[in-house]
């Protein structure tokens, strides 16, 4: 979980101030800025996917890392955001399949609020429960939304999905779209960081560690959890909104529990205890997937084995394990 700064110990002040996220964030940002200079369009494409899923996983970690509840239905908000954007996109685009820049941006803007609304309704019920019940209720709501999108053919086109989400010419260039995504994701991450470091964010950590005590201290537990649930859903909606124009299509699978599982995987690989952990998890997961899929169809086997090893041998994820080492080193030195 987020580390408390140890001012006495050696090491960079960046680490002392921001925990392990301090030194890792500039590295990730530098790497992100360098991606388009890699040879070939392929890595720019993968980079965009890393960013979108990284944002999705970071929004999931608001629930898991900061609030201590695991949601297996978080993809519902990613999917709802993606569908809201895709539907408005389809309505606004011309008969020739082209869409203006203003209309394109407008359709992106509609995803997050619709996802927030869905999160408000679902969260209202979910925050009444904790632990395994929270996990299953969120799973049930996610599956419910999945089946609604899957079956309601006249409204959502069912399992055909929605195709032909071709952004305006400027955004069709993969480098331009990459930087556009990077800007949005960076801005979203900055807002999330601000939220997690606010008194509200610390109230969430308190009720994560001891819900009853947080209640006694005067924290309105359910209201805080619901607010956080809506915030997490909104940012998942931002990621979802970007997904449609990026992949040029949306499908009901985006709402399914397998998709929710991806956010959980990324978070656990990178480390739930640090703010940028899920983004690092997305870097590893998405790039590994891109490489492994070039050679074999057995991607699930690969990622399953990795998850197994991480759960057994590196429970805090990559950043959590490194962080623990640094803490131990600092404790040894006077």
């Amino acid at each position: 979980m987020p580390t408390t700064a140890n001012a006495r110990g050696p090491g960079s002040r960046l680490y002392a101030g921001f925990g392990i996220s301090g030194p890792v964030t500039p590295l990730l940002l530098a790497a992100a800025l360098g991606v388009p200079w890699l040879p070939g369009e392929f890595w720019t494409h993968v980079g965009t996917e890393v960013l979108i899923f990284g944002l999705f996983a970071m929004s999931f970690n608001l629930l898991y890392g900061y609030m201590g509840q695991i949601s297996f239905g978080h993809a519902a908000f990613f999917g709802v955001g993606a569908y809201a954007t895709a539907m408005l996109f389809t309505a606004l685009k011309g008969a020739d399949g082209q869409i203006g820049v203003a209309q394109f941006l407008l359709s992106l803007l509609v995803g997050p609020p619709v996802a927030a609304l869905a999160a408000l309704v679902i969260g209202f019920f979910c925050v009444r429960l904790t632990g395994i019940y929270f996990a299953i209720l969120s799973l049930a709501f996610g599956e419910l939304l999945f089946y609604i999108v899957f079956s309601w053919y006249s409204f959502t086109k069912g399992d055909d999905g929605i195709q032909g989400l071709l952004p305006p010419p400027f955004f069709q260039d993969s480098t331009n779209f990459y930087f556009f995504t990077l800007a949005i994701v960076a801005a979203a991450a900055a807002v999330m960081w601000r939220i997690t470091e606010s008194p509200f964010g610390y109230a969430l950590r308190t009720l994560r560690d001891n819900q009853r005590r947080a209640g006694f201290l005067g924290t309105n537990v359910r209201a805080h959890m619901l607010a956080n649930f809506v915030i997490a859903g909104t940012f998942a909606g931002v990621a979802g909104a970007l997904w449609g124009p990026f992949s040029r299509s949306v499908s009901p699978g985006l709402l399914g529990w397998g998709e929710s599982g991806i956010a959980v995987f990324m978070t656990l690989i990178g480390g739930a205890g640090s703010f940028v952990g899920p983004m690092l998890g997305s870097v590893i997961y998405t790039m590994l997937q891109a490489v492994v899929k070039m050679y074999t169809v057995y991607w699930p086997l690969t990622i399953g084995t990795i998850i197994l090893l991480i759960v057994l041998f590196a429970p805090g994820g990559i950043l959590g394990t490194i962080d623990k080492r640094i803490q131990a080193m600092r404790a040894r030195k006077p």
């Binding site: 898991y64 209720l137 709501f141 599956e143 079956s151 959980v264 057995y298």
Partner: protein, 298 residues
Amino acid sequence: MPEISLAALAAQLFTGLVLGMIFVLLAIGLSLIFGVMNILNFAHATLWLVSGYVTFSIFTFLSQQFGASPWLLVPAIAGAVALMSAFGYALERLLIRHTYDRELPEQLLLTFALVLILGDAIKLIWGLENRRINLGVRPVEMLDTLVNPYQFVIIGTGFAVAAGLWYFLHRTRFGKIVRAAVYSRSMVSALGIRIPMIYAMVFALGVGLAALAGGVFLPLLPMALGVDLDIIVQCFAVVVIGGFGSMLGTFVASIIVGIVYSFSILFWPDGALAMIFLIVIAVLIVRPWGLFGTELRS
């Protein structure tokens, strides 16, 4: 709405009962594992799927050796149950026991990883083709509809297993220990009973039941990659509706879900699966501990 005869309703009820049996066999194991070990086993339906393929392979092998006969399904199922129970035992000893003192998400992740690994293992060993067995049983006419008599075998198996489990849990020493472990692990442990062995046995038993389900349903339900992902969330639904750790609740909920599902298909085909999750949501909101569960472990 189309005119629906009484016979059609009866047929639908019967289909629902048959469908409910798959949940009886799967969800009781899931519920037992959760009740005793506090582990939510995402891989339960995947182990069921593996068992189906194993049963198929044994059945095919026996058919080649002794000539085709529907009765060969019995030794094939017995073999698969034995193999899969042993596999379940090994799985608990080698992997799952390392997560008992971990947090819930990590336990979920471990079994989730098993779903992915076993799913691909099936692809590696048996390929992409669906597998099913054709027993060549003639349908019989009942109440103006044709009924596959094999469905009676399934219903019989479901009830027999439920009764057997009840006897095991209430009338045998080991069963009583298992039930005691559901209530208080530390107390059972304090009485000098080796909890780790109980865990491994219960996990093996749950996987064995899943293997039985895999084999019994093989003539009706083709084994196909990815089916496990749908079945497992429906099993979770059943366990939640019945109440975590409650065998009776799971049994009743299985039949309810089976019948609701088969009637939804008749009246509102698109919403059949959504219907089940609506029930789950309603139950979790009103009675999070389920129809028959106690508030003990919330």
